[in-house]
Symmetry: C2
Subunit: 584 residues, 2 copies
């Protein structure tokens, strides 16, 4: 049977194990075909081809409910549920996303689950609904690739363990998150692997689950046997499968971290097709880390399983020694460890991806902002040019962070300002400082960058004009410049302002502007609702100047085209200028 | 020795166990003395008097670092660290808060930790800082009263288990959260208690911790012995202590849920001094739950360990049977179970305290808003008259929820509107609806309350006037009425608007207002920054009307006096009216 003939799981039900193995092999080719051309999660998907094939072979989706977590490992599931073309043909790649996606397949993709760890709790909900409706089917979560260390996953183990009803968790243990795994549980899983699942103090049993171990997690026969054993269970069962991340593709087996997610590459060698274009904002952060560890004896840099935020490879991380800590996929703990270490006076930096920081909103409020714990947090992958999957948008960080008291959120506009803000933030023994790493474009300062930001909420005038003031935050300063130039071509000598702070407003400067300005325009590379510009609008509400807030909209957008979305949102300098002229 | 003579932990170091027991007895009296007069956490504090006495007897704070979680059980700690007057003398009650509090005692209270579960992660941070500084002291967390089921607590067990260094967790197992415990782990703890700690599949050992069990967790000698065994350990150790919630006070031992937190009561009988004043918003919710379970066969109501939100007692919860689910202190799981059950078409209500919902921000965004999971969430304890501890403020929910796409956040202004919104929200098969339970004052509608809110973001004019429009959201509608009356006395016939929706703006109505209005005033019982009013200000930024946003400020306030804070924030109707007149 050829992979492209598969239209639904029914098509594989009658196959022999040998035939399934042939399909698995074709799936691997398809994964490489797609990811080598447009990038994607290589290792996680190669590693669980068999786990998913067996899943659809033994269980009966869509009657049985299958949930993937993290769902970037579900390519094989998509191939089996009518979407194989998205892996075979370049012109169809766009039709499928990186994660499970209900609009793609309402029957087979129950949730997006683009963030790790919620599947067990979602499945408890599915199972509860099933039981309330007196239905009978299996609810199955495939959880792995580092997802178990997220707090909500353990909450789900806890809630699931108390469910006197069918619930199956396939724990895909590929011994990795994005990078190596961290935390006591992973040492425990190693022991389970080494003892064929018999090591004492079984974590899953402690939570009340039955436990089955499959040593050969890429062996279809063994998987099918274990799944059949669990199918129809009247209580919660974990099937712990030991898989190989990157299985079947030597570069991905060897360089598991590099092939977790890979930009387009040469299949023959695994080499990237494009080489990194030189120094960027990540390299500013990396240099800052390497400098700080020499400067501060009690320096600590924290990552929650995303060391690529610093561009630090395994060797460099090892060289940092005790000054580097990976808390696993556990942003709540990332923030609390930051706060805890800072409370004892250590110099702490925590770098985190904006979309994942959402998991730690409560810790930001209750464990950091409130406590006497000055530290530096770097927020990565923000704005319209960061991650384009709707599950990973960097649009919401300004509303989230700026609504919390006592966190100073800085948005640098260029490399020099970014560096200065990092230096200042880490040197603090009073303020809690978050810095929004720019993404939009690589810029250098053409003004004197301040070293000290302790005079809070002071905006900086880059160019003094009149009539119109454009306040362009962070990496949208470059857009502000273009708008001001276009206004100039229209005979308007506008003021350009770099606010630097997005968590507060320079009311004094706004007051002064009113003497000779009619309109204030705010630009931000984030959601307008609840964001920076609306604070300016509020501050100016009773004054004489009008206000125009420009930025991203409060809606989910998935795998968008950047120029098209900019146009839709009216973010092109010509559009912004046009709006300004129409308001004047 | 008399309790009031104790100024610091040094004062108990030389005492005998008998003397310590005498202190424990006095502490219990002091706990009852305070809580019976002003209310407070009775059971949790009675239960761990010995655990804390032994802690300060064996360890050497402030050199050794002690962290409490949840810190509402730390009264004994406060009594031992210079704050005993706050439990003995009525005039000094105000000097100490319900939770550990760094400004009260920077040396002994390291964190607020008013929300459950972060202590282990905070302690990992403290331990990391200690090791970086090459210091030597013990880092100890006392964790309990339901805190272990929160995801971040398990993340902390995971991170702690990998720490090759001193870290001690005293697990205060009082067999309860606010109500009974839920989840597989609590069954496991029961088995550990029944086997004197020897039951197989030890959860703590699975995470890599050493384990000590103390069957008599209210026995000072046994506690001291166990603590001494762990003191100075070079690796992570859990001491599991079996305590009695409410120990030493019969009403609290018998009615453990009622005495978790208790309003002022008669010590002799345990009876409340004031009886509940009749139907309120909670009773609207309760009636709605009891009606819905009859209406929908697949109805599910979810709580995350706060059944008091529904005013459902243990008998009533039991009567709900499979239609009621308590996910334990685990709001992430609360939201994900809601989304999961709703995905299968069940009719789901999740009621949650606003401040605790902060833990589930990511689930709101990624597991609910994004997925096809229509359900109803009820947000309790919001605004200035809800919980007055700075760790539990209900000020931030509008910025948090209203910045997430596709969640409709409704703010009813009275009992009839509240009921109508609950009914509508639960009947949805399309929209995800959150309803903000009013708190400010008990109101009845004097207008026709709409049954259908599917025409999104439509504000309602309560009284049509001109010049000034007061848009008063939710339970501040009552304030809006007073302001409009005061304006009337000043010759201004203002318009009064009930927006109902706080997650969006009725741009059409705002447009229409501009014909005969000069000023729009927004009132909201929540933080202005990132909130509802700023959205109105932004929408009106380029128009002719001025905007005045009134609400709470973005800052932490602790145990405030409501009228005083209202005055400070300019929220009294006279103050609001004055501001309006000064703007006009």
């Amino acid at each position: 049977m050829e992979l492209q003939e598969i239209k639904s799981p029914a098509d594989i039900k009658g196959l022999s194990v040998n035939q399934l193995e042939e399909i698995a092999s074709q799936m691997r080719q398809a994964i490489l075909n797609r990811t080598s051309q447009i990038g994607g999660h290589v290792g996680p998907n190669l590693g669980c081809v068999e786990a998913i094939l067996a899943l659809h072979y033994v269980f009966d989706a869509p009657t049985d409910k299958l949930v993937y977590d993290v769902s970037h490992q579900a390519f094989a599931h998509k191939m089996l549920t009518g979407r194989v073309d998205g892996y075979l043909y370049r012109e169809d790649f766009d039709k499928v996303g990186e994660y499970t996606c209900p609009p793609e397949s309402p029957e087979y993709d129950l949730f997006y689950a683009g963030h790790t760890s919620p599947a067990l709790s979602l499945c408890v909900g599915l199972a509860k609904a099933r039981d309330l409706k007196n239905d009978r089917y299996n609810v199955v979560a495939l959880v792995g690739d580092g997802a178990l260390s997220g707090g909500v996953a353990m909450e789900g183990l806890d809630a699931g363990g108390a469910l006197n009803s069918n619930l199956i968790c396939i724990f895909n243990d590929n011994q990795m998150a994005i990078a190596e795994n961290h935390g006591g549980m992973y040492e425990h899983f190693r022991k389970l692997r080494e003892t064929n699942g018999t090591s004492p103090d079984n974590l899953f049993k402690a939570f009340g689950w039955d436990y089955i171990y499959v040593a050969e997690g890429n062996n279809l026969s063994k998987l099918i046997e274990a799944y059949r054993q669990a199918k129809g269970a009247d209580h919660p069962v974990v099937i712990h499968i030991n898989t190989q991340k990157g299985e079947g593709y030597i570069p991905a087996e060897q360089y598991r971290e590099a092939f977790h997610y890979r930009d387009p590459y040469d299949i023959a060698t695994g080499e990237l097709l494009k080489v990194s274009p030189g120094p960027d904002y990540t390299s500013v952060l990396k240099d800052f880390i390497l400098k700080s560890v020499k400067k501060y004896p009690d320096f600590l840099v924290i990552s929650s399983a995303t060391p690529d935020n610093f561009d630090l490879n395994a060797r460099e991380r090892e060289a940092l020694g005790k000054h580097y800590m990976d808390v696993a996929i556990a942003e709540q703990t990332g923030v609390s460890v930051m706060a805890g270490a800072a409370r004892s006076g250590a110099k702490v930096v925590y770098a985190v991806v904006a979309t994942f920081l959402q998991r730690a909103y409560d810790q930001l409020m209750e464990d950091w902002a409130m406590d006497p714990s000055p530290a530096l947090m770097v927020v990565c992958e923000t704005g319209i040019r960061a991650i384009k999957d709707q599950t990973h948008l960097g649009f919401w960080d300004i509303p989230m962070i700026s609504s919390i008291p006592d966190i100073i959120y800085l948005a640098p506009a260029n490399m020099e300002e970014y560096e200065a803000m990092l230096e200042w933030g880490l040197s603090q023994d009073k303020f809690k400082v978050a810095v929004r790493q720019p993404v939009y474009s690589l810029e250098h300062a053409d003004y004197d960058v301040d070293k000290d930001y302790s005079d809070l909420n002071k905006f900086k005038i880059i160019r003094k004009g009149k009539d119109v003031a454009v306040i362009a935050a962070g990496d949208f300063l470059v857009k502000g410049r273009k708008v001001v130039d276009l206004l100039s071509a229209n005979g308007i000598n506008a003021t350009l302002i770099n606010p630097r702070f997005v968590s507060g407003v320079d009311t004094e400067m706004l007051e002064n502007l009113s003497a000779d300005h009619k309109l204030v325009v705010t630009l931000e590379d984030g959601s307008v609702e609840g964001g920076f510009g609306q604070r300016v609008a509020s501050a100016l509400g009773t004054g004489s100047m009008k206000v125009l807030n420009i930025g991203l909209e409060k809606k989910f957008v998935d795998r968008y085209n950047i120029p098209a979305l900019e146009e839709e949102y009216g973010l092109k300098p010509e559009q912004i200028t046009g709006k300004i002229l129409s308001v004047l």
